[in-house]
Symmetry: C2
């Protein structure tokens, strides 16, 4: 799982910005790996997360084969995961005239975030259904109904506030950037 560095770049003493570059590189590595783990928690393949991390850090669109090279994974994995992210609206495939190759850039990423909202809504809905089924019961106004209420209220509030954060952010910088869904 841990990567081995074939080129340790031993000629470091010459350049003044070398140290900064290196630590930046290390930080990038960490960020990318962290994004990999994060997205794995969200049931996405680790490579997809790393892809997102890398593309967040890349000001310009990145070439398909550069992705494979930089992340040290097979082109097959890049193909699969770019497609996945593309379909989710998280990244965007761009092409250039006279260039057969594919480039990718992130897509100011609410795609992922909307997924979270959906999950919360689903939980809320599930508890609501249960509450409904419970209603005709005699003496059903007890602890169980209370718990379900708590549950429902929590998730609905959460989804709402998440939505409003998204909306606020979209209106603030969504007009300057290509702004997807």
């Amino acid at each position: 799982m841990t990567v081995s560095e074939p080129t340790p770049l031993p000629d470091r003493s010459a350049e003044p910005t070398a140290a900064a570059d290196l630590s930046l590189h290390a930080a990038e590595e960490r960020f990318i790996e962290a994004m990999g783990l994060m997205h794995e928690e969200d049931r996405l393949p680790r490579i997809a997360g790393r892809l997102v991390g890398l593309l967040i850090l890349s000001p310009d669109p990145v070439r398909f084969d550069h992705l494979a090279e930089r992340l040290r994974v097979s082109r097959a994995s890049i193909s699969t995961n770019t497609r996945l992210l593309e379909n989710m609206g998280v990244i965007q495939r761009v092409t250039r005239p006279g260039d057969r190759r594919d480039y990718f850039q992130i897509n100011q990423e609410p795609g992922l975030l909307l997924r979270i909202v959906d999950r919360f809504r689903a939980r809320q809905a599930s508890a609501e259904e249960m509450k409904q089924a419970l209603l005709p019961e005699p003496g059903a106004g007890g602890i169980v109904a209370e718990r379900l209420d708590w549950f429902i209220r929590f998730y609905s509030t959460l989804a709402d506030s998440l939505n409003s954060v998204l909306a606020a952010m979209a209106s603030r910088d969504g007009n300057s950037r290509p702004g997807p869904a």
Copy 2:
């Protein structure tokens, strides 16, 4: 994965509330399964989720072996998963004097929710670290920094609002209930 019913309780036709009971039972089944799926999304074993669902619906503490029986899983799985949830502060093991057996009840469940907050905070922190590393760079105020800012702002806002929802709910009914962390 689908359960089969060995004891259909055939003597139900006598009671007038039979229909309601049945649909309630079905709804419970659905709720429990839904909770299983939900928690699986959060990287917990499915059985743990079902356990949470069942305990939410149980007004009184439930006996260890009843859990196994009701969910139709092995006692080993119950043991493992109750322990897991207990350590997470999601459920509570209770005992009764003169009774060797263990009972479980849900622990008005912020345990799970705090996990979500932690995840958000971790994401925010990761982006912040990256931003720091980026700072000394020349011309680093570009798109990348902007994206990281967006990211940071989003997750911190989210975690904050989640916390405040939790706090509001805790203060509203936390004093009547045993109220854990």
